[in-house]
């Protein structure tokens, strides 16, 4: 049985919870002033810190970004283990990852150390606690740069303070359909929060998947920032759900949901964008009770796993675009066909 702590709540709307902690070391210049030697020095310090502590070395495995293939690197981004910026320059950069991929540590990102912990559903307190413990363990040997008035010291003074960014990945199909996202996101920015599309192309956010995160790190504790984010998220969840009942009764919506499921269950080739839109429709159908025999969490995992680089990587082969589309359709069918 799964550890209950690992399973968050509100999974009909909240896909994933992520906590980031930004840290720097005292005796090495910040990244914009680092040369290759500094980067290597930092990587070695981080490796030593992990090796010295069995609680860490037992669960973390290191990957040197410079020796990864393009597919491997992009897949790390798709699985939210590293940032897109991180793979733009892989030289002298590395990442530690736990086997269950719930925690990672980027070394030499925009700041020296980026600790990340993520869990399914709405699970801010537990995700924070995991990152917090990891931070404490690393701090024992890395002694992060800190000032009692300024907090954790960062390259960019705007990010001083807790260095904590908490994010929720939300599925908001009804709010998106109602056209309310733009208004909500401009109101949220006044409250020090940001809401933006995850699979964004221009104005459009594919699959109605959004990221809600705190922007303020200074003059506020981690617990306050998390409580603040949670209360806003709760309001968004209520607003989203409030639209569901009416939508679920519309024949057009029922038709879209049924057709989407039918395509996922029978297509022979599928592009990721198409998959994402269909999965979003089906996920909505599950949430409002139109579809009963598939679970949201199955779709959540597929949304990650069906991305091009991750799909290719796990196939163990080089795939052409057509081969990828065939494989994607096969895997989706296998999982959803009853």
């Amino acid at each position: 049985m799964d550890d209950l702590r690992e399973n968050g709540s509100e999974q009909d709307v909240v896909i994933r919870t992520r906590i980031h902690l930004t840290r720097n070391l005292r005796d090495i210049p910040f990244p914009s002033k680092m040369n290759r030697t500094d980067r290597l020095t930092l990587v070695h310090k981080a490796m030593d810190a992990v090796e010295e502590n069995k609680a860490l070395s037992h669960i973390l495995r290191y990957m040197d970004m410079g020796s990864l293939s393009k597919t491997e690197a992009v897949s790390l981004v798709e699985r939210y283990l590293v940032s897109a910026e991180f793979i733009s320059d892989c030289e002298g950069r590395g990442v530690f990852i736990t086997d269950d991929e719930s925690m990672s540590i980027m070394v030499n990102e925009e700041d020296h150390i980026h600790i990340q912990s993520s869990l399914w559903g709405l699970n801010l307190e537990n995700a924070y606690q995991k990152a917090d413990i990891l931070d404490d363990l690393l701090n024992r040997s890395l002694h992060f740069a800190f000032d009692k008035d300024l907090g954790y010291l960062t390259q960019n003074p705007v990010k001083l303070g807790t260095g904590m960014r908490a994010s929720l990945i939300l599925h908001l199909p009804a709010l998106r359909g109602s056209g309310g996202i733009v208004r909500i996101s401009s109101n949220l920015s006044k409250l020090g929060l940001s809401l933006r599309g995850v699979f964004e192309t221009g104005e459009d956010s594919k699959g109605a998947v959004y990221q809600l995160s705190n922007q303020v790190t200074f003059g506020i504790s981690e617990q306050e920032a998390i409580a603040n984010l949670k209360s806003i998220a709760t309001q968004l969840i209520h607003q989203e759900r409030a639209l569901w009942e009416e939508l679920a009764e519309k024949p057009e919506i029922q038709d879209t949901v049924s057709r989407s499921l039918a395509i996922l269950q029978s297509a022979k080739m599928m592009a990721y964008d198409e998959f994402l839109q269909l999965a979003s429709n089906v996920r909505f159908g599950i949430s409002v009770g139109l579809i009963g025999d598939i679970r949201s969490d199955q779709l959540n995992r597929l949304i990650i796993a069906m991305q091009p680089a991750t799909l290719t990587l796990r196939s163990g082969k080089k795939l052409t675009q057509n081969e990828r589309r065939i494989l994607r359709a096969n895997q989706v069918r296998d999982l959803l066909y009853k």
Binding site: A55, I133, D136, Q155, P157, T162, M164, T217, F218, I220
Partner: protein
Amino acid sequence: MLCESCGKNPVTTHVKTIINGKLTEYLLCAECAQRLGYGNLLTELGCNYGSLLGEFFGEAERTDSVRCQCCGSSFNDIVRSGKVGCAECYHTFYDRLIPLIQRIHGDTNHRGKVPGGSMLRKPPQEQLSLMRRELREAIRTENFEQAANLRDRIKELEGGNSHG
């Protein structure tokens, strides 16, 4: 002392720069400093291209002799790039950075975690259960020194509770 570049004029400018990761110091006369581009740091400050710090410091410092011992940054470097060079810079330029930080963040202080101190701010029960988890992990991974350490701290806390 004479300029290291021309060997003629007296030294007026100490220039520290990082070459191949090594901090190097040059002693230059005013003329050579200008010729070699080090004068630009002072003259370019009026126009700061989109750098956040630059916007806050339209009127930049005219004296730029202090450089961070660790990374070699001057305060003007920080203003120009919008990026602090290293942790030590915050110490070196504290008095000059504070007004800027207040303009970004308001007149307030850090209220969050203190390194290694997260456990201290948790209620005792939660703190104990965390430490017991750490202890189990330490035993499981045969990290006995750490385990013994944790066991002592748990005993201390439990003792403290029963008497308090």
